[in-house]
Subunit: 275 residues, 4 copies
């Protein structure tokens, strides 16, 4: 954490801290992409745009006026936003219908190998059936963030059979970082190394927790520029759970919005120790 | 409280803590179902969906992005949500017109005996005239949460005549738990036993207080799995009023949103004492 | 204050604390009626409904889910709400066009002498030209809350000429309480007596401050039942400014929403001293 | 600061503290103009109206009910609002399309030399191509608030070549105050003098920071009436960054909404020292 959450250079502007594009939030799950966007803003992203259903415009601005809105059904606007982004999050609240798939394809096929792309939630389920997308993601800087059932769908490995050996074999084929969310979340890196999380707990088992994680990963990748970017992913995953653990010392369940609101102070603490 | 608000098992996921569906909120009373949903989230429910009028989508997401939205006029979506739920709340802000009755019928007739169903507010008034619904609820795990006038409508017992003997006779015919909200709220259990609340007070006499209670009951039933589930209902009712009493030590009137915001810390306190 | 802000009787329900109807908020000034409604809720009103433009539904619920919504262009709903209310506020953000006048007429001509009616903002300006409305208000429990220019319009007395003698003559003809808002706000009672406010200050000179006052007056009238109800009005006006003065010890300008959020604790302090 | 943030005169009303009109916020960037408006309210403006896309009405009221709404596509309403204003902000979230240009022209060509006009964001980029607008602004009390790239577009001076000498030559031709936002923000005054900011830092490099500044400048100009109004601009720019610096002692990144929420206490501190 101390090596990653650096004090910011004096000469800098918001472009240095990442242009994030979050994509998701259909009619049912608008809150998911809003929480992802809000987490990205609070975690220090320079600029955050949220591509979502037009029904979510007002709630987005009401919760996080710092974020910008894009109608994800507007092809031209969406394409422009994809091209202007350093880090993309796709999946929170996206759903799994034909509209979701269309948007998912457009996003993945229009990104390039310089951009980070975080694939979450129903986007993982959709990708599982689309060889073309899996191949495209294999040559990008891709981070999948499945829970165990989503990993089963993507990897074909049943939950009961999931272990580091089998997971690594499949992950290597996918050519991507896998953040496998569970009790003691495990991260499989592209070089074959594995990290395991020792913080966090069941107070995090509540809707929207994973959406929030995507925003933190995106913000960290957008602002902390290391060649070994997977170290930054590890750090974001750690921050999310370590902060939840802190908050759980006084709260029975820790909500995504609690984590979001506490990010700035949490990161400050670590930045003081950085060099 | 200590026996019910247990520390969560380490190996768990949000599905373990209940899938809640709140149904209500017409054009006039959107706030009611939003407060019920928000209370459920803050009280630790794993996943909360809110089926309501489409006009309430944005306010729902603005207040509690952790909750999901369903248009309660969309038959297919509503049915799917009913089937996916462990606990249902119907009534807060539902109104008493033809649309309300249609939704109420659909909900009650499509639930099964494994699901909990909390019937509140105008849903109680509507049910009072529908023998078919009363019969369906009698064979389900039903909790009615009437105030005295609603209980008069449902039971036929005038407020002045309501006493434990008469109430129990009627309650046994209804085959449901009755949370009769009043000064010293009384809970009539299906086995004929009675609990009486000794906490709470007139600082709770404000609009939305009952809506909030439904969300807490739902969250407690969703996450605390006891054979004797009515003990959990008792506990939720106690938590709602005991927390209000705590807050009243510094506030003249205690608002529903005050209770909602304080739930996580209140529950934490008790969980420390659980074993 | 100690005589008015009483501890609540144990046996009570929300109906005892007043059914408030706030009416106002056109396309431009939705915030005004929302602040009035929110102030009423926080000041302890039992039930608060807000009749406003349909564009304001979502912002109302987002800010104060405890309040209910009525479309003020729906004649049937508005009339039903008027009849069900103990205290009405008309004016905050109402505007002064033909729609505003139509609603104003409907409200005033459909209230009765048992109801309190607080006439504020543009409603005062509109009333000034309508002899029929002035006469109707003269036989009701009416409280006008003009600032000096609005009082000039209603009374015909130019600001420079306004003094207690002239103001009282006109006020007696109007047969209503006048809360004349200015540096040292003055209240003219129906019995000819006069109160002058010695708290408050220029940190209150900001948009929405008067809207907030209407909600506090309404809540106080709704819950504190004294034969001499103008004592309750005095108390509400005092509470509004005294609380602002407290908050100004740490804030350069005191916003309406600051006052709203601090009302519950402020009232609690006085209720402890009541007997 | 002590000379500018004066204690308010006892005899005053909201009109004394400025009528502010903020103009901007298209479909994509509603949050920008909302933050500008909210900053103006919290910084003590007497009355704040926000002219924006109708899609932003609800988010505006939800975030800052103290502000009033104007549909910026309604020519009559916009013109009326322009005429009624003491200080105008144009640009935050305005965009750079034909609609934006039309509104920009209407605003600039309908203001007069008594009004302050703050030109920000895309409005600067648009103005750069419009000689007629540049000329109109040259005879008004205009404050441009460009970052370095926007200044390049307006001045024709490439970022690498921007220095005080070249900037001053161009600024004198523009006949306006230039707040050039960068590490050590520099302010070029109409009399040729230059101020340089020594507070603030990279924790401010986040979307919406500049929008917030426009609201603070507007509120300061609206309420602090000095012949040398550029001293007030300096002070507003200082307050924005000095407050951010204070907040950065506990937060890794300082968000615009953090600054907005802390303005009232920050200004209070200085007003105590004023005479």
């Amino acid at each position: 954490m101390k090596q990653v959450i650096l004090q910011r250079p004096l000469e800098s502007h918001k472009g240095n801290f990442g242009r994030i594009l979050t994509i998701g939030g259909n009619e049912h799950y608008g809150g998911a992409i809003i929480m992802s966007s809000s987490a990205a803003v609070h975690a220090g992203a320079g600029l955050v745009s949220c591509a979502t259903d037009s029904k979510n415009l007002t709630a987005l601005h009401s919760i996080i006026p710092e974020a910008m809105f894009i109608n994800y059904n507007n092809d031209i606007d969406l394409l422009k936003a994809i091209n202007a982004s350093d880090v993309l999050v796709i999946g929170p609240g996206l759903g799994d219908d034909a509209v979701a798939l269309k948007i998912l394809r457009k996003v993945i096929l229009n990104t390039n190998t310089n951009q980070f792309i975080i694939v979450d939630g129903s986007a993982i389920t959709l990708v599982a059936h689309e060889a073309e997308l899996i191949q495209a993601l294999a040559v990008r800087k891709t981070i999948y963030t499945p829970h165990q059932m989503e990993w089963q769908r993507l990897s074909g490995i049943k939950i009961a059979d999931q272990d580091d050996t089998k997971n690594t074999v499949k992950q290597q084929k996918l050519g991507a970082t896998i953040v496998l969310k569970k009790h003691n979340t495990t991260i499989y890196h592209t070089d074959g190394s594995i990290s395991q999380l020792s913080v966090g707990g069941p107070y995090m088992s509540t809707g929207g927790m994973g959406d929030t994680l995507t925003g933190i990963i995106a913000a960290f990748l957008g602002q902390f520029h290391f060649k070994n970017y997977e170290q930054v992913v590890d750090c974001a995953v750690y921050a999310h759970s370590a902060l939840a653990q802190e908050l759980a010392s006084s709260k029975y369940v820790v909500l995504p919005t609690d984590i979001i609101n506490a990010l700035q102070k949490f990161m400050h603490k670590y930045s003081l120790q950085s060099r």
